[in-house]
Amino acid sequence: MKWSSPVRQLGLAVMALVLVAACGGSSSGGSASCSESTAKTADSASACGGMDALVAAAKAEGALNVIALPPDWANYGAVISGFTAKYGIAPNSINPNGSSQDEVNAFDGTSNAPDVVDVGQAVALANTAKFTPYKVATWNDIPAGAKEPTGLWFNDYGGYMGIGYDSTKVPGGVITSVSDLLGSGFKSKVALAGDPTKSNQGLNGVIMAGVANGGTLDDVSTGVGFFKKLKQAGNYVPVVGTAATVKLGQTPVLFEWDYLSTSHGKDVSSWKIFVPSNAIIGGYYSQAINKAAPHPAAARLWEEYLYSDAGQNLWLKGGARPVRMAAMTTAGTIDTAAAAALPAVNGTPQVPSGDQTSKASAYVVANWSAAVS
């Protein structure tokens, strides 16, 4: 554990003392424990009496509510079962196909409310008042721009916007540029993996199409214009691409995060992913803890697990790029085989800022329906 400053260390020590005093008789002998009230406000494992105390408190709570985590999304199925195997707490997964906004909407103060959320950048920024700060043990490995400084939210995994396609269904069997999609061989084939007027993933698909066609992160109109041309050419399919539509063949060409697109390979063996070198749009999802989490200790333990080497390597196995990837590569703890299997990318990644995303979103909402209907 590294400390960011001595002041902070002092603060934590004082806080721990106050809490221990407050808990009084509940902590017996020398072993530290973590009461529910302590866990609710603990902003790190040590504030809760260390990892062992956190684990004990989480086991005492015995449950964890998670929401909007599809098992096939970035390897979440394996992450959930890994957590259960390690700590004996089986997460209760609500509404697996919900959106980031659905997650925050479910904060209803009951014992069924989600303890932790995994949300897109926009939702994380808009809802900080509903989160409680927490710093995982590996906090310092997370790049500064990828976390809220006090720990209200912190990026976890991400990837690049790509075009996944069934190589048997496209002319020539390969896509080499985004403008290829306007060709007559793509009739009724091109889809987005989310509605850009409300889904972060869909919006980034439009941003990527824009940048690839000469637009910038500040001006998404090129992207909307591109989809208008797709629609006029009869190539656009107004169906959200999912594992089911890909398997069925309804969406043989799909704008999707590369780490999610990878999973279609198991249904469609000829599935390939193209990330345009002039438009490598990165996007990360963030973790955050519900301020009123019904299981505060389990919520914190879940974050510790996600940011442990094991948790981060599970994202990588699922084709996503974990946020601690650089630090783990240096430390030699990264799963090198999984890292080598990521889609090859040549070029400089660009990540839209919060402001750029907001502007793009507002433009898309106002102009999308005119473009595609």
Partner: protein, 300 residues
């Protein structure tokens, strides 16, 4: 509450039995009122109150300001036009089918089978209908693929199934059977004697339709068309399951405003849209009720 304390009622029957009977009948309709209250009145009240609450609190019309944005206007235009076209088409074909049924044997196989089929198909909307069309007429649907294998590409110029003509076609699928069900009683009310009377007075078929059956059936026909319109206008699940992306219809806009994860979540505006939809349906259903009243004057 019982009527035991009500002298007016007590005089009508023996005191104890009168009180009990009233209390029981009151209990009998309770489930209905509770149901209507919980699933119709309460949600309506929540939506109306929500639409009139400003994001910062307090009563205001702020939420309704967003409705005049071009893409919202377009959503209403599309929803209204698809509903209107599918209602008119459904009403026309449904009425023709109903007339064919009426002229046949009242106890015949044709009537019985069409009536039961209509009863089932009128309710065959929503997700099931959307998936039926996806399985048959989507780009990979078996009808599409079969026709393509035989040289006919119905989507040579792009998929129209998801465009307004396609949505209208899908809606007509449940509009026709509904029209048969609601229009048949009116046709049954037309008595053969009226036709005989027309003919014995020297009237032709044209005279009969123009001066007797037409005026009698017109209110019923228009009323049923309005009912079909409201039916299509309020449909949500069918388009939601079919157009998972970028559907420009009012119910889908409401859904997007409630679940947006890209900072466009505006529950207030969503509720304002819902209120606008409720108003449209209320107007249509009021007209329907007025026409129904006119219909029942002659056709029973």
């Amino acid at each position: 509450m019982t009527a035991a304390g009500n002298p007016a009622l007590n005089t009508a029957a023996r005191p104890t039995r009168g009180g009990r009977r009233l209390s029981l009948s009151w209990l009998g309709v309770m489930p209905f009122f509770v149901y209507v209250g919980l699933f119709l009145l309460l949600p309506t009240a929540i939506v109306v109150i929500g639409s009139l609450t400003a994001p910062t609190g307090g009563v205001s019309l702020t939420n309704f300001v967003g409705i005049d944005k071009p893409y919202m206007v377009k959503a209403f235009t599309l929803s209204l036009s698809v509903s209107a076209v599918s209602a008119v088409a459904g009403a026309f074909f449904g009425a023709v089918l109903a007339y064919a049924v009426v002229t046949g044997n009242p106890r015949g196989l044709l009537r019985r089978s069409i009536m039961s089929a209509s009863g089932v198909l009128a309710q065959f909307g929503g997700v099931a209908l959307a998936f039926a069309f996806i399985a048959t007429f989507s780009t990979v649907g078996f009808v599409t693929v079969f026709l393509k294998d035989h040289g006919i590409d119905i989507y040579a110029n792009g998929v129209w199934l998801y465009d307004p003509p396609g949505i209208t076609l899908i809606y007509v699928y449940f509009q026709i059977p509904l029209m048969v069900l609601v229009f048949l009683p009116a046709l049954d009310g037309i008595r053969p004697q009226w036709r005989e009377a027309t003919e014995s007075l020297g009237g032709s078929t044209w005279h009969y339709w123009r001066y007797v059956a037409g005026p009698l059936l017109a209110p019923a026909f228009l009323g049923c068309t309005l009912l079909l319109f409201a039916n299509a206008f309020s449909a949500y699940a069918t388009i939601a399951a079919l157009l998972t992306n970028g559907g420009v219809y009012v119910p889908l806009q409401i859904q997007a405003l409630l679940t947006s994860e890209t900072e466009q979540s505006q529950p207030g505006l969503a509720q304002a849209l819902a209120v606008a939809m409720i108003l449209i349906v209320v107007i249509v259903m009021t007209l329907y009720t007025l026409l129904q009243r006119r219909t029942t004057r002659w056709l029973r």
